[in-house]
Symmetry: D2
Subunit: 129 residues, 4 copies
């Protein structure tokens, strides 16, 4: 899935680790991610967290989509900052799941994200071969 | 603020209308916004909604930042889709505010976003001249 | 459904209006709803909003449950305050829905709630007779 | 604060443990907490989680209020069920904080709650004596 995720790769994201229910993704804040207040657009922090969330919840196998998510912005982020999103599964039930993603700059938390996942009944193209 | 928002402009976003408490922003889904499931990365829908939210809550004057936001993904979005985010203020209290942003493809809702704003005590560079 | 909702009725809630996708529920803040800060426990505002949400999303017919919800507390509420929760549907898609509930004291907003609904495949006991 | 929290005590809640940033609160689902679908009204799960959240965020000293919260309902709860809400601090920044509360029935998760706190500038009545 990551290999085909043009969106994440074109932002320079790097998949550090991935396992069923957890993932770590890294990204450096680029000039084109800066908003009108001269800090990183919060949407890019969301994007990074959302990518880590997608890797974590798809690690179980079945195609799983984000049903929704909430983010709290903790600290402003500047150009050049190296950010790391660490996703972990909180709970799964039926076809749903809740995942927490903490976005860090070094050891400092810059955002807290909570994603709600929904497993589809769709099979992966590479499954069952 | 929009003029200096490199992040929003580099994604090809267009500010359609803006007033204190409301804004409409438009964006076309590009190839580099597609994820590993061959639909638009949800993070780009968030980014679009977040930009409309920022315009709406900063329309009152004082520098106002996103404290957080929640998004529900309603329908998958494809490359080439033209999306419109319509932000409107729900309530303001003290230095806080709640804004709703609906993301549409034509008349069809594809995402519902709710942003929580926080006014800073910072003055704009161009204020008070 | 309302007739059998012991929880809502034992709190003195009154169903003012109900239609498919919308509902208004009223409640007076009682002494036993006051917390350690001498204002109404936020949980009771949630409960009121949640009841209006349940009426709105079940008005369509099929048994529909709350999958989750977010609340923002806008103003403190005191004992004796008469609160009104007004629920309206924002969007429905598949078996899911998003509903907004505004909690008011007179014309003043005291809380903003957004509920996420999920329709079950269960039939009502009184359906199809 | 707990001693004066009429709302929590009148619901039969028991404060199991409390420390700065964490708390455990227990409650048994009563007949009057059952809704029209014959399960516990989700509002009571919120109330329980919110009480644990209040204890955790007020454990630091300054009067701290809930600014808002999100809850995901994981499993239905029945009358007589003994529920335990375990609150822990995720991050504090400025006068804000994010707290996670898991609501359990034995070892089974029935709800996941995330609270957003806001410290007031108000002193406690018993401070500084």
């Amino acid at each position: 899935m990551w290999a085909e995720d043009v969106a994440s790769r074109s932002l320079g994201m790097e998949l550090v680790t991935a396992a069923p229910g957890s993932a770590v993704v890294r990204m450096t804040v680029r000039d084109d991610m800066i908003n009108g207040h001269d800090v990183a657009h919060g949407g890019y922090l969301f994007l990074l967290a959302d990518s880590a969330f997608a890797c974590a919840c798809n690690g179980h196998g079945p195609v799983t989509l984000a049903a929704g998510a909430d983010i709290t912005f903790v600290a402003p982020v500047k150009r050049g900052d190296v950010l790391e999103a660490r996703a972990s599964e909180r709970v799964r039930f039926g076809r749903s799941g809740v995942y927490d993603v903490t976005v860090l700059r070094g050891e400092e938390i810059v955002a807290e994200f909570r994603g709600r996942s929904r497993m589809t009944t769709q099979r992966r193209p590479d499954e069952g071969r």
